[in-house]
């Protein structure tokens, strides 16, 4: 029996509108805004940090909270970009380009207001699309067998490497290294152990949480510590948070285009929240009648990237909830949040756990409203947080990483594993390797291997991947992407774009 949209909304809201769920939704968006404002810690490390705490919680409030952290971080990130020219989040880097000049011109208020309202509109669109698109995709994915699942993961990994901002070869190396790291522990098919060196800790494999915290918590803090980041303080006054009619007129199409770009790039595996912001900004600049004004403090330059990163959060949830494939690293860690509660996101989620599925979606509507209320009137409070000295903040982040990783299994060796990943993440950054393909490879690794070996059980030949249309299309598209990325002309153009972005 299929449910109408109206029925699903009633189911979702009736599930989520309990004091308990609302409280955790608020905690999630609050923490999200907090870590968005504070540099040095992002949603990956924060969600990893909260995973152990969510063990003892019920699944729905725990997932609502973790999702809240993700989309809440997008709101927080723009605050520091606009006021201090320091992106609190990678997805807010582009907002600095026009947001900070606007603040210097005395228009910090409208810039902050527009960032929040554009974000609200875009996230609302993202949630509506998630609501409409996820069930359709999930129904299609129910027909998937191991060859299609393998092809989909192969496509996801290819996209992540293709969308990487640096060298594709380095991204491919990181993805391969990530799958290798996932092969430590038990063979998913035969159950025999691999590369454990007799260690009981390694029997269960290398954990995703120590890896994520190491690479994105410790690794990031070490880079920031080394760089001796100068702490700036915003001394001006923020006036007029509501954009003027002229601001809305100037921004309306930027919001529409930013939202569409953000959502559809966010749906793609590897799309993430950073790439669409650059694409939205570049699109606005190209379509503008006055491209020379971009970078001098114009409102479209704030509205487009902010709409894009908010819409992308909704988009990336489509892939996770309907296909069970994490589109980016935050989703990969969030997948861990589902798995610890024994829930497997994917096509069957909507059938087996309709309350959870629709509850998550409806909680996002509520969380989005909470975020506007938290961010617009309370902007001054968030900015005061930046007065915490970095030489206190950075050590605190490291301490919470140690605490978080220990509480997973009460095993001190997990701390050592996390430090190992911290060193790896730090060196990776130093040698210009991105962490995202590694972590996604690590998450998809066991599923990838299982799907591959199960697929061959169907026919015992490699041709099984090309005999089935969906898997053939996905593998064909992946191979095409890989081949085109090696072509000298495309490589050169890509290099030019990367240099421009830097």
């Amino acid at each position: 029996m299929t449910m109408s949209i109206f029925d699903t909304l009633i189911l979702g809201f009736s599930t989520v509108l309990s004091l308990h769920n609302l409280l955790f939704c608020f905690i999630g968006v609050f923490i999200g805004t907090l870590i968005g404002v504070l540099p040095g810690i992002g949603p990956v490390a924060t969600i990893s940090l909260l995973l152990p705490a969510s063990f003892s919680m019920e699944p729905l409030p725990s997932i609502i909270m973790l999702c809240g952290v993700y989309y809440g971080a997008m709101y927080g990130g723009s605050r520091t970009s606009i006021l201090l020219n320091i992106p609190g989040e990678a997805a807010s880097i582009v907002t600095c380009l026009d947001g900070y000049p606007m603040a210097r011109k005395g228009r910090a208020g409208p810039a902050l207001g527009m960032a929040a309202f554009a974000g609200f509109i875009a996230l609302t669109f993202g949630i509506v699309m998630l609501m409409l698109l996820a069930p359709v995709l999930a129904r299609g994915a129910l027909k998937f067998g191991p060859p299609e699942n393998f092809a989909l993961m192969f496509f996801g990994l290819t996209m992540v490497t293709y969308m990487a901002q640096g060298s594709i070869i380095k991204a491919l190396i990181m993805a391969a290294a990530g799958i290798t790291a996932a092969s430590v522990g038990q063979d998913p098919m035969s159950g025999s152990t691999r590369f454990t060196m007799g260690s009981m800790t390694l029997m269960d494999g290398l954990g995703l949480v120590p890896a994520a915290m190491g690479m994105f918590g410790i690794g990031e803090v070490l880079i920031d510590l080394e760089a001796d980041v100068k702490q700036e303080k915003f001394s001006g006054k923020i006036k007029g948070l509501f954009p003027t009619v002229q601001d809305w007129t100037d921004s309306k199409w930027a919001i529409v285009r930013g939202t569409l770009i953000g959502f559809f790039v966010g749906v793609l595996p590897g799309g993430g929240t950073v790439v669409p912001t650059f694409m939205a900004y570049a699109t606005e600049k190209r379509l503008s009648k006055h491209p020379e004004k971009f970078g001098t403090g114009i409102i479209e330059g704030v509205a487009a990237p902010e709409a894009a990163n908010h819409a992308a959060t909704g988009g990336s949830l489509v892939t996770l909830l309907s296909l069970g494939i994490p589109a980016n690293i935050v989703m990969a860690v969030l997948l861990g949040g589902f798995v610890i509660h024994g829930i497997q996101p994917g096509p069957l989620l909507i059938v087996r756990e309709p309350q959870l599925f629709w509850g998550i979606i409806c909680s996002m509507y509520i969380g989005n409203i909470m975020l506007v209320l938290l961010n617009v009137p309370l902007v001054g409070v968030w900015i005061k947080l930046l007065n915490v000295p970095f030489n206190v903040l950075f050590p605190l982040i490291l301490i919470f990483c140690v605490l978080g990783v220990y509480t997973i299994n009460n095993n001190p060796y997990e701390i050592v594993v996390m430090i190992g990943f911290g060193v790896f993440g730090y060196l990776a950054r130093k040698f210009d390797y991105e962490g995202a393909p590694f972590l996604l490879g690590m998450v998809l690794g066991p599923m990838f291997e299982t799907a591959y070996r199960q697929s061959l059980g169907y026919g015992g030949q490699m041709s099984v991947f090309f005999r089935r249309p969906i898997s053939a299309i996905l593998i064909g598209a992946s191979l095409l992407l890989l081949m085109t990325s090696i072509l000298p002309k495309i490589r050169h153009r890509r290099k030019e774009l990367v240099e421009k972005l830097e």
Binding site: A53, I169, I173, N391, N410, P412, V416, I419
Partner: protein
């Protein structure tokens, strides 16, 4: 490029080591993969990718070397000290107990991060350790190690 050359060499050795160590398991074939197949295939891919990286680095080496900054610029000693402190505390975490471990960790990390006022440093470290103890041990009932103090 210097950093591509260095990292390319690392991945080449890693790929070779992975192929050798995974061949100690049953590898199987492309159509009938066994336990060692996936790591072996990944090792082979890593060798191929690292060779591509090395070739690119050798071709561009002289020109790029002039432009490129050193890998370890900035205050890398801070990172090294931070990692050492984290590692030592991690290894002796259960022996020290959470209160002492978090006090020492906060003190050392904030000192490394540049906070040199000892009174302030001690006060913040004490508050951090006590705050974690109250929140996680007393309120959330997390079984953190008691260690030397026995609490």
């Amino acid at each position: 490029m210097q950093r591509d050359f260095m990292s390319g060499l690392f991945w080449l050795f890693f790929g070779v080591a992975l192929c050798i160590s995974s061949s100690t398991y049953e590898v199987g074939t492309l159509a009938e993969p066994k336990t060692g197949f996936m790591p072996f295939a990944l090792g082979a891919l890593l060798i191929a990718f690292s060779l591509l990286l090395l070739i690119g680095a050798i071709r561009l080496r002289k020109e790029a070397l002039r432009k490129q900054a050193a890998v370890f610029t900035g205050n890398w000693k801070k990172s090294a000290w931070t990692l050492l402190v984290l590692l030592v505390t991690g290894i002796f975490f259960e022996e020290l107990g959470c209160l002492i471990a978090f006090f020492v960790l906060s003190l050392a990390l904030m000192f490394i991060a540049g906070l040199k006022d000892w009174k302030r440093l001690t006060l913040i470290a004490l508050c951090t350790a006590l705050g974690i103890y109250v929140c996680f041990v007393l309120l959330l009932k997390q079984p953190l190690p008691t260690g030397l103090l026995g609490i």
